[in-house]
């Protein structure tokens, strides 16, 4: 098999999981005949039928809420929310129910739902189609947050998410959907949740990034000896992987496109400051979106950290 995109890799994961387990059900708007607005579910309704690849009413709260009851009953719902900007209607369901059902029943009931949604800037869509709200979910105990950055990981992480006993928010970088291609094995493999990977080894700067920003951080690293960590699971975070790398390099730059204020970069910085202060040779820097709402198409390139901004941060920590 040739190289495939993230869209195709996710489709492959869904298809394999639907084939593996009759209790896997996909729900969402336009995911059936239309194959989803990004065509991620293309062909699945024909293959598995409308009872398992379910076109729902326009009802984000309802779909996410219903998925909690489904999961508690014992089937495996995989919800698609068309764009991250539309997930907010379902936040109460995720925060007040899915995330805490296990805790408030001391393990008697659980809500292992998967909510997939494209996130981030880069496709010049209308307003509220480019949100990067991962930090909300990372802040909520009981929820896992996953962001793949390559086709290989997209397939393996989604399969892990579907088999995971906890609720998982699976954020798909829309800018990467079709812009990168890679070989993806056709066999049944998984990539474990909660584990980061070293995307590129290096000795001078630890760079932590995920999704679209991982690739940008890597492009910006030319001329620097960066160790780039693909965090992949934002929550629970692989603290050990980050600390191990920082102890080697003594420098940390976190890159994310979400607004810097209370973004995940702050948590990573605090972790390193608290646990590896003595190893630091320079201040921890974050390269992130400004404190502003995500702009429309004409300005979106300015909002997203670009190569230049990232390089400046690398220079700054090296010159300190």
């Amino acid at each position: 098999m040739g190289k495939i995109t993230i869209v195709q890799a996710i489709n492959m994961a869904l298809s394999e999981e639907l084939a593996r387990d009759k209790d896997v059900v996909i729900l969402g708007e336009d995911i059936g005949k239309d194959g989803g607005v990004f065509r991620v579910t293309e062909g699945l309704a024909e293959k598995f039928g409308p009872e398992r690849v379910v076109d729902t009413p326009l009802s984000e709260l309802g779909i996410i809420g219903a998925s909690i009851g489904m999961a508690a009953y014992g089937i495996k719902p995989v919800v698609e929310i068309q764009f991250m900007g539309f997930i907010y209607a379902g936040l109460e369901q995720i925060f007040s129910h899915a995330s805490r059902l296990r805790s408030r029943t001391r393990g008697r009931f659980t809500a292992p739902i998967v909510v997939r949604t494209p996130y981030g800037i880069g496709i010049k869509p209308p307003e509220l189609h480019s949100e990067s709200a991962e930090a909300f979910f990372c802040h909520m105990p009981g929820v896992k947050v996953v962001v793949p950055s390559t086709p290989y990981h997209a397939k393996g992480l989604l399969k892990s998410a579907i088999r995971d006993p906890d609720p998982v928010i699976f954020l798909e970088p829309s800018r990467l959907y079709r812009s990168i291609k890679a070989e993806v094995p056709e066999d049944d493999y998984t990539v474990p949740l909660g584990k980061a990977e070293v995307y590129q080894e290096g000795n001078d700067i630890t760079v932590v990034a995920w999704g679209t920003m991982l690739h940008r951080a890597a492009e910006a690293a030319e001329g620097f000896d960066c160790e780039i960590i693909d965090l992949m699971t934002l929550k629970p975070m692989d603290e050990e992987a980050i600390l191990k790398s920082v102890k080697k390099t003594g420098r940390l730059v976190v890159v994310h496109e979400a607004t810097k204020n209370c973004g995940l970069g702050a948590e990573i910085a605090a972790l390193v400051a608290g646990e590896a202060m003595e190893h630091l040779k320079a201040p921890i820097l974050r390269v992130a979106g400004p404190e502003a709402v995500v702009p429309m198409a004409r300005l979106e390139d300015y909002y997203m950290p670009d190569k230049e901004r990232i390089r400046k941060a690398y220079e700054k920590v090296m010159l300190y």
Binding site: L61, A66, I68, G69, A72, Y73, T105, F109, M237
Partner: protein, 355 residues
């Protein structure tokens, strides 16, 4: 061109036993005499549990509690129509439902004492933890019902909520999805006339709440919520329909919250005594007692005996609740995820909670 009437809706109201205890024998469900007595005994037990909860709260032995006084018929009548294996999604004012389905009373007390373990339903008992954010649990019932259908299980989901909850978007999305999915779910709306201080008239301009069912292509009915037999009968019909594969039903139980919203509320601030007293005359136990009397099944001695046994049973449950060992602080963290995260392991150690 003249306008055509393209659809008509008719809403029925069901009452089987009236306030004087007079009943329509053609509509009376086919219970045997011992069943009627058993139902009365459950009513007494539920009311005893409820009254003791209120006094325990005043004594500082449990925390805030939401009384169900006046809603016994709506809760017991509907719960009785369900079978073991069906799934129940209660709100926080559902002691009658829990107890009717055999949920251990000590666990309910334990929950109201502020202990999550009280909502760890015994294995095999499919009762969700009571939903605290009002009305947010309705979609869960729709989802569970979808899953039952998916698995081909002949089960139903029943979800309990109130007039306040019916104003939420969750109500709309849950009913709409249930209608589209033809999911086996029964929406039990206990219209107790008050959402804390806001009266039913401020929840909706609609004449009834049951009529909203029609907007979702779902059958709806309003029943006298203080008539246990009417509630049972309507729920049984809905349960049978759902089990047959014919989809959801909305049942509005027209009832009244006789007590304050919770022990933290003072209803005299917003409703007048006369209205409450009028409703007190219509409360469900008076009616059921009159019904039993007419059937020759009730005597004063019988009720005294039932009450004495109920008090004894509830006392034993309170004792069990109060004797239950204190929870482990590590439980705060332990049940968050299926496994402890790296962060949580570090926190347990830092907090000194890991034994």
């Amino acid at each position: 061109m003249p306008k055509d009437v393209i659809e008509r809706f008719e809403l029925e109201f069901l009452q089987i036993i009236n306030e004087q205890g007079v009943f329509d024998s053609a509509l009376l469900p086919p219970f045997k005499d011992p069943d009627f007595k058993k139902i009365f005994e459950t009513m007494v037990l539920v009311r005893t549990f409820n009254q003791r909860a209120l006094s325990l709260q005043r004594e500082g032995r449990i925390g805030t509690y939401a009384s169900i006084l006046g809603q016994e018929a709506s809760q017991i009548g509907s719960a009785l129509a369900l079978e073991d294996g069906d799934w129940i999604f209660p709100s926080f004012r559902e002691s009658g439902v829990f107890i009717s389905r055999g949920y251990p009373m000590w666990m309910l007390y334990r929950y109201w004492m502020g202990d999550e373990r009280g909502m760890k339903a015994p294995e095999g008992m499919n009762i969700f933890p009571m939903s605290v954010p009002v009305g947010t649990h309705l979609p869960h019932a729709t989802g569970a019902a979808f899953a039952m259908k998916h698995r081909g299980d002949k089960k139903v989901a029943a979800v309990y909520f109130g007039d306040g909850g019916s104003s939420r978007g969750d109500f709309h999305e849950a009913l709409n999805l249930a209608g589209v999915f033809k999911a086996p779910v029964i929406f039990l709306l206990q219209n107790n006339q008050w959402a804390i201080s806001v009266p039913r008239a401020r929840q909706s301009a609609a004449k009834t709440l049951a009529q909203r069912a029609f907007g979702y292509g779902v059958p709806g009915i309003q029943v006298d919520g203080n008539d246990l037999m009417a509630v049972y009968s309507a729920t049984k019909e809905a349960v049978d329909r759902a089990r047959r594969g014919d989809g959801p039903t909305l049942i509005e139980c027209y009832t009244y919250r006789l007590d304050d919203h919770t022990t933290s509320d003072d209803a005299s601030r917003y409703r007048n005594k006369e209205d409450v007293e009028e409703w007190r005359k219509k409360e469900p136990m008076i009616r059921f007692r009159l019904f039993l009397e007419k059937k020759g099944l009730w005597t004063k001695e019988y009720e005294e005996d039932v009450l004495r046994k109920a008090l004894e049973a509830v006392d034993r449950e309170i004792e069990a609740a109060e004797k239950y060992p204190a929870p482990d602080p590590a439980d705060i963290i332990r049940y968050t995820n299926s496994e402890l995260t790296q962060t949580q392991k570090r926190e347990l150690e830092e907090l000194g909670w890991e034994k």
